[in-house]
Amino acid sequence: MGLFKNVANFVTGGAAEVQLELINPVLDNEYSMHVVIRVKPTGDTIHAKRLYLEVQVVEESSTKNVLFRQEHILSEDLQINQGDEKEWSFTVELPAEVPPTYLAKYFSVKWGIKASLDMPGVDPNSGWQPFVLNKEVGVSELM
């Protein structure tokens, strides 16, 4: 791989393709979500410090507030050879007192999940994938 390609990957995070598949993207009064992550180098063999998963729920109107956030490290010091693809299965466990998905007229509360490789420069990632948590808000969360 040429120097310019390496610089481009450093800036864009394009050294690997990170795919995130949500097995059950609608959580209905449940707090476990199963995901599969697939990582494939776009060119040369890659070395990453870690593969990590971020889960968050964001309240958004003209302001954005992260109401809850989790990070999971799925693998550390990993190498994926050119042409190979690696796959990880993981179950995200959310606590019961997290807020549900909520769509009002002027604000929203949305959940998202993203898988990333910790590499020099911009981390290759799956982008934020939306999922839904449908549940009743607990009384203690309202007061």
């Binding site: 993207p25 609608v26 209905d28 009064n29 309240e59 109107s61 003209s62 302001t63 507030n65 109401l67 807020p99 549900p100 998905t101 909520y102 769509l103 009002a104 007229k105 002027y106 604000f107 509360v109 949305k110 939306p130 999922f131 839904v132 449908n134 549940k135 009743e136 808000v137 009384v139 969360e141 309202l142 007061m143």
Partner: protein, 165 residues
């Protein structure tokens, strides 16, 4: 009670103390919200009506931009997030009409209200909220004695899909 006290009550709404007592302040759609409005008279009260306002209100932030120009013609633009309110639902229930409540007496009225099937559930975030509340008042000459706004909670699971995100 002297004339000054009557004038004060006329202005402040202090002729009676009004309160809201919930049987259950946590309801689901199609359930009935049941509460009592209580009034304790500090002076004779000639009441046209006893009313209860019910409201579902969304609180959110909106970015507002202001542009000012000084005497030298320099323009400055500033933005800030302002708290805004939007009413999704309002209703008035009249609980009683044409009542004379004597000084030092107490009265209570039952209010029942069915939460609409399509009601939005209560939500409490950081900047944004969905709040259900009631306000009881006595319609009298001058300022109405009232309970102020009192919150109750609507609990409901909404079934969203990923396509809506």
């Amino acid at each position: 009670m002297g004339i000054f006290s009557k004038i004060k009550n006329y202005i402040t709404g202090g002729a009676a103390e009004v309160a809201v007592v919930f049987e259950n302040d946590l309801v689901r759609p199609e359930d009935k919200l049941r509460l009592f409005v209580t009034a304790s008279a500090k002076d004779d009260c000639k009441i046209k009506k006893v009313y209860l306002h019910i409201k579902c209100e969304e609180t959110y932030k909106k970015r507002e931009t202001t542009t000012t120009t000084d005497s030298n013609g320099n323009t400055t633009t500033t933005s800030r997030d302002v708290t805004k309110y939007y009413s999704h639902f309002t209703k008035e229930l009249v609980l009683a009409e044409d009542i004379l409540l004597r000084k030092d007496s107490e009265e209570k009225w039952l209010a029942e209200f069915e939460i609409p099937v399509d009601a939005l559930p209560s939500f409490k975030g950081k900047d944004c909220h969905m709040t259900w509340k009631v306000f009881a008042g006595l319609d009298m000459p001058g300022n109405d004695p009232d309970s102020g706004w009192v919150s109750f909670y609507v609990q409901k699971k909404v079934d969203y899909t990923v396509e809506q995100m």
